[in-house]
Subunit: 806 residues, 2 copies
């Protein structure tokens, strides 16, 4: 089966044009293909056309809709109908070929070495200072964006709650509360509609929390559009609207994505979307440097979201690091610190206590004392199991969505439906609840009296009327007795399903806060039951159980351990809680992993992303590079005919991306004594063709037009497709000298090397291509990301995913 | 100059016998050489004998004295006199050849692959569980050792202070305080003498904080004896005696070393010193696995010392990590958590509040509120400058010690002298001080009234009578006015010189706490001055300035940034302080680096250790592998004559450690078509020779005695020297088949690769040997650690260290 897949899809073909629509030559035949139908059978054996224009994951991350016009959702247009089959079959045991790779290996060609040798020590110091300046800017801007989101959400949500509250108060007296329900539902739906429309029609990649996408980017996968300015704008507006729309979502996850976009934008010193080039930071226009800054941005985002600078650094390292770079880590930490500090200063200033500095993050758990707690492990299993149920439900839902809800207008309708249902559920539960609590001070932002006596408020209403962040904090800190067990139980149950339904909608929203809220609710419930059973022993403080429950539930859903422990520790501000939090998270992970994967990993897998985990599967020592690699490889000669290069690049059936350059014949079967292989990238060839760096056959000695590194940097990252470059028939007869541009020492492995060895080299150095050579140093194959990501440890041992043109 | 050095010293010669005295064949000619004298001239051009038996760094880390008898310090023995010249010339621009490397690259030979393929998924899980169990044990034991040190120090120091206090109180009334001074000085000196004797005569590597040694170990350098049980015992006793002896030292640094030893011991499931093999954890008997556990141990040590589990993880990563391994990081974190939790539980129990859990570390800074502070950057420069002065003074002192104080008995005398001087200085300052403070509650452990009025105590006496940890905390938290500026100034000045003199003595002791104390003192002084100048503005809380001063001073001395920020943040328990602490540390580092290196790096350099930094020097792109590598290389054939192997291994002039195995002729100059190179290690050959894995020349087809991986593991880490293996003349004529044992796919680089590229590969994968091949895949050289460590960025650009036989 794997062999079949391999023939269809040469795995070196990750294309280079970041953010570009499929090249015409590749896309055209697909549009002519059949519509829906012919479901069943392994995907790679089907006509490619069926998978062509519409990637399976379009509704979540797709970059396709961005290039289509909004009117696609009107079914009367026949072409549109063709393009949106009513069901899209999907299989998660696939790796998509549409994702390209980033290249973290510097191409040390002659141009690069010449530049590096020209630069003296002082110039290197200037570059280093620039890096720090960029990190400071990333931190400041991320902090500012977080402030903006926080303040706008607070204002808008306050406005909405006031309107609804006044309305309910009015109708409570004179009857007709169904009008209030209607008002609430319509208000929420319309806000969510706006949020969903901008995401679905303008930038689908801004949907969700963005964490899976950033994980992929840091892992080395190019996710189209993910770090664009437009994405940032949509993300920020989208998350504000989702939260204000009353969905069961948080605004923390999207901060990570926002930070990453900010970082990518600043570090390049230009905006391709706005067509502005500030001519600064040109040195950083390559994948290696850009990724480093994106790591810093993601860390700054975490830091601003949770007031957890160290957690942010660890998050970036956990997701992105391969080779540990000390200086980079410092810069990441610096950006994180600045981010939380900026947020803290501005929010403190905004709240009128400029020197107080008590808002390091968008959510602050409040301080816990380090007293007595114990007995908690008994309920830790719950986190893992509930997390697994959440993920399993969401898995089915996502499969359903991929298959059936792939049109933007359907997606908007679903989002509106969820908003209305959320409002309705909340309303019914408030209506049915009889949990009245005495009103003390101003602990409750929008106290709803409803049917309670004067001076009391409806406790259930608080849970729905507060923003989720505030609900979490009240569950942690409100004194014992603030919540009725019945209220908590009903709330947990309802919120669980709502949150599960909400994640994966076409809106910008995070899953951290809903998870924390669910966990805090059942944790507190457990604490209350325990206090009841033990007649109120001192160690049964429900607030602490709420904290542990929140940690366990979040761990059970997202399955991060290290960074999450540190984030929670920093958010509680107490080192002593580190150990129990860690135990809760680890148990949740172990238990949850037994049933189903983590939410983010699940979504990454459903998108068929070639994601490389930290290590090769443990039982893969029996595989060697020879079995893993893609072969045969198209090689180029050091001095190659232009026509040959154009033909190879235009060959859509083997859309290669890196080409070994050999001295002798390009035919790898011919026995000769080839020189050690060099490597040249498609993007480099494209730039060479574009600048017509040719020499006529007769005068090979003629000096070519000198290209500089700057020409490559200017073209980065959106290299034009080969079809856009016109090469005349005369030019086809010219030659190209690749000597200056090829990488003279790409990393190679012998073909007997085991998979874990290849994997380690590939992952540790962040490679994109790894040349496999035989005993005589002849090129026999190439290993790319997809060749490695295909092997996975399943329930029954090593399994191999198929490659598909989805 | 480099070429000359290269000829003398073949850099592939890092020897393999960990913890072994120099092999007889190597050491003998050196002892016959000349004694001292003939100073001057570049070291590599001198007769090797001069550098032979006595490594320059013996007084600090030397493993040589351990193998000599204690009576060596009596000068009447002529041989001893010869061995201890009165002056040992030293030059810091050297790399010593005596340090071997660790090998973090798994040798994937046939034996290994067979074993891995036999192991199924469940067995891998068992191995994984074992790893977690070991980490838990490391955490618990490290926590227990920390508790032991803490409690014993507290008891003994209390006893000593009571005796001295009673004595002073007695003589204050009736005059004759000089008797008290004498008592104090003698008491301190004798305690320190015991501590110094055990270190100097039994295990010199236990001297100092152990942090430089652990840094080197994690970096991949074998420091002899560093993770032995004996070292742990001496370290623990030594640090207790140093602290009780009243030296200006802390007990925190040594915890890191202790944790590392505990980890190394537990993970191997046996004690070579005690000759006990528990037959468990045999899978972990190789460098890769052992290093991983040592990282966890070091982290657990930091965690126990400062109550900073995250700081511990970051410390280990900062010093040790090359390739980021997620699972390893989790385990490290787990060990750290358990360590601080164990310490916390036991100390809380010991202090009678079992549920309080308020002692997460040996030193706890106490809680700071997150209110107002600002204006601090003005004095941040001071940290860097004072740190640089400290380091510069210590540098001269260390050079002096290396040259003149290299005999154990001199070292003991120096330690006693410092102890007596410390007592005397303290006494004189207490005597001269007139800073009387009212006695409130029991904030002072041993209040000394001296010449103060009743109900008052001498403030200066507290500073010297408390353990340094307590002094730090009082400087942080005592209300404004507790310290007289004069007292603080005098104390800072005196303590600065005492601490500087103390670091590098032959006692087990750390420099963290003295640095913090110096910094806290001048920080508080600065705060007081500021409060005075601004008439007591609210933002001039001297305690917070003390904290910032402490951070700046510590940063200025040790120059760690990331882990130190996190450690300080966790110790203060307040995220808000992270940003100013980070600024303080970074400024201190930048300013300090301008003048002189960090203390640990300085000591590592003075020991001529081939330490690899995180990146290659920035301006080294002009160097290629061809220029860097060691050549020519001794190659072996796949089926080699036993006699040849023995001769090559016995060749002391080129004490190689890894041998490329080629198919054709071992002569690299001969043009042929060699197969891709394989690699075999000296240690593997030794085991083969020891087990007589030979076949007679006539019957090559005869099956050899089967060796298993177990045979190699049993021999690890102390492989016998070649001289101890007897090979008869008949056996010399036999053949050895290396096929099964050699590494079939060692990492290679083409000879054109630039130094940064080679460096990155070497460092990221933790290699020991990197084979350099030419275009035809023929072996042309080997790159080892020393070839890379030689290049350094000096004040005037790239500089090259000489290799020397020190």
């Amino acid at each position: 089966m794997a062999n079949v897949a391999k023939k269809v899809s040469w795995s070196g073909r990750d294309r280079d044009e970041e953010d570009e629509p499929p090249a015409a030559g590749e896309a055209t035949p697909l549009l002519n293909g059949a519509g829906p139908g012919t479901a069943g059978g392994p995907p790679h054996s089907r006509p490619v056309s069926e998978w062509g224009r519409l990637p399976a994951g379009a509704l979540l991350w797709g970059n396709v809709f961005a290039d289509l016009t909004p009117d696609l959702c009107f079914p009367q247009e026949t072409e549109a109908t063709n393009q949106f089959p009513s069901e899209i079959p999907h299989n998660e045991k696939l790796l998509s070929l549409k994702y390209e790779s980033l290249d973290y290996d510097n191409c040390e060609n002659q141009l690069f070495l010449e530049e590096e040798r020209r630069i003296n020590h002082t110039a290197f110091r200037t570059v280093e200072i620039k890096r720090w300046v960029i990190c400071a800017m990333i931190g400041i801007l991320t902090g500012l964006v977080a402030c903006f989101i926080d303040i706008v959400v607070e204002k808008l949500a306050g406005l909405k709650f006031r309107v609804v509250k006044d309305n309910i108060d009015k109708f409570t007296e004179k009857g007709g509360l169904s009008f209030s329900l209607l008002l609430w539902a319509i208000l929420n739906s319309s806000v969510v509609m706006v949020g969903s429309v901008i995401v679905a029609f303008i930038e689908p990649v801004a949907a969700g929390s963005g964490i899976p996408q950033i994980k992929c980017y840091l892992n080395g996968v190019k996710v189209p559009h993910v770090v664009r300015l437009k994405t940032l704008l949509i993300k920020v507006c989208g998350v504000i609207l989702s939260v204000v729309g009353g969905l069961a979502v948080g605004k923390e996850g999207p901060m990570i994505h926002s930070g990453a976009v900010i970082a990518a934008g600043i570090s390049q010193g230009r905006s391709t979307s706005l067509k502005r080039d500030f001519k600064i930071f040109e040195y950083f226009r390559r994948d290696t440097e850009k990724r480093d800054f994106v790591s810093a941005g993601a860390a700054a985002g975490v830091s601003a979201a949770f007031g957890a600078p160290v957690g942010g650094v660890l998050f970036s390292l956990e997701e992105g690091a391969s080779f540990w770079n000390q200086f980079l880590t410092w810069r990441i930490f610096f950006a994180s610190m600045i981010s939380t500090f900026t947020l803290n200063s501005i929010l403190s200033f905004y709240h009128g206590n400029p020197w107080d500095l008590s808002s390091p993050g968008l959510i602050n758990f409040g301080r816990f004392d380090s007293e007595v707690f114990s007995c908690f492990p008994s309920f830790l299993l719950a986190g893992g199991i509930l997390g697994a149920i959440f993920n399993a439900l969401n898995y089915w839902l996502t499969m359903f969505r991929i298959r059936y809800i792939h049109r933007p207008c359907l997606q908007v309708i679903e989002a509106m439906l969820v908003a209305a249902v959320t409002a309705a559920v909340g309303f019914v539960m408030i209506y049915c609840s009889s949990d009245c609590q005495p009103l003390q001070g101003d602990s409750v932002a929008y106290p709803l009296q409803l049917f309670c006596a004067d001076g009391e408020y409806n406790s259930m209403a608080t849970a729905f009327f507060n923003t989720p962040e505030k609900s979490v904090v009240s569950l942690f800190h409100n004194p014992p007795g603030s919540y009725n067990p019945m209220t908590l139980g009903m709330f947990t149950l309802m919120y669980f399903f709502l949150a599960c339904w909400t994640y994966g909608l076409t809106v910008s929203a995070g899953v951290f806060i809903p998870s924390l809220l669910i966990g805090a609710a059942w944790g507190r419930l457990f604490g209350i039951s325990l206090a009841y059973l033990t007649s109120g022993a001192i160690w049964a403080d429900p607030g602490k159980y709420a904290l542990m429950g929140a940690a366990a539930q979040l761990g059970g859903i997202v399955r991060m351990t290290l960074s999450l422990t540190v984030i929670m520790m920093e958010a509680t501000g107490n080192v002593t809680y580190g150990f129990p939090i860690m135990l809760a998270l680890m148990t949740a992970k172990i238990v949850g992993d037994y049933f189903v994967e983590g939410l983010y990993d699940m979504h990454i897998q459903l998108q068929s992303v070639p994601f490389l985990h930290w290590e090769a599967p443990v039982t893969s020592h029996s595989l060697t590079a020879r079995e893993v690699m893609s072969a045969p490889v198209t090689c180029l000669r050091r001095i190659e005919k232009v026509g040959t290069v154009v033909d190879i690049l235009s060959d859509t059936s083997s859309n290669h991306n890196g080409f070994p350059v050999v001295e002798s014949s390009p035919d790898p079967t011919q026995v000769g004594r080839p020189l050690a292989s060099r490597l040249i990238l498609r993007s480099q060839l494209i730039v060479l063709l574009k600048h017509k760096v040719f020499v006529e056959r007769a005068n090979l000695t003629l000096v070519q037009r000198r290209l500089k590194l700057k020409d490559f940097r200017d073209a980065y990252p959106r290299f034009p497709p080969i079809q856009s470059i016109h090469v005349s028939q005369d030019e086809r007869e010219c030659m190209m000298d690749l000597t200056e541009f090829m990488n003279p020492s790409p990393y190679t492995v012998p073909q007997e090397a085991s998979l874990p060895r290849v994997f380690k080299l590939f992952r540790a150095l962040g490679l994109r291509h790894l040349v496999v050579v035989d005993n005589h140093n002849e090129v026999v194959g190439l290993v790319t990301r997809k060749d490695l990501a295909r092997y996975r440890l399943g329930k029954e041992g090593l399994e191999e995913l198929s490659l598909a043109q989805t």
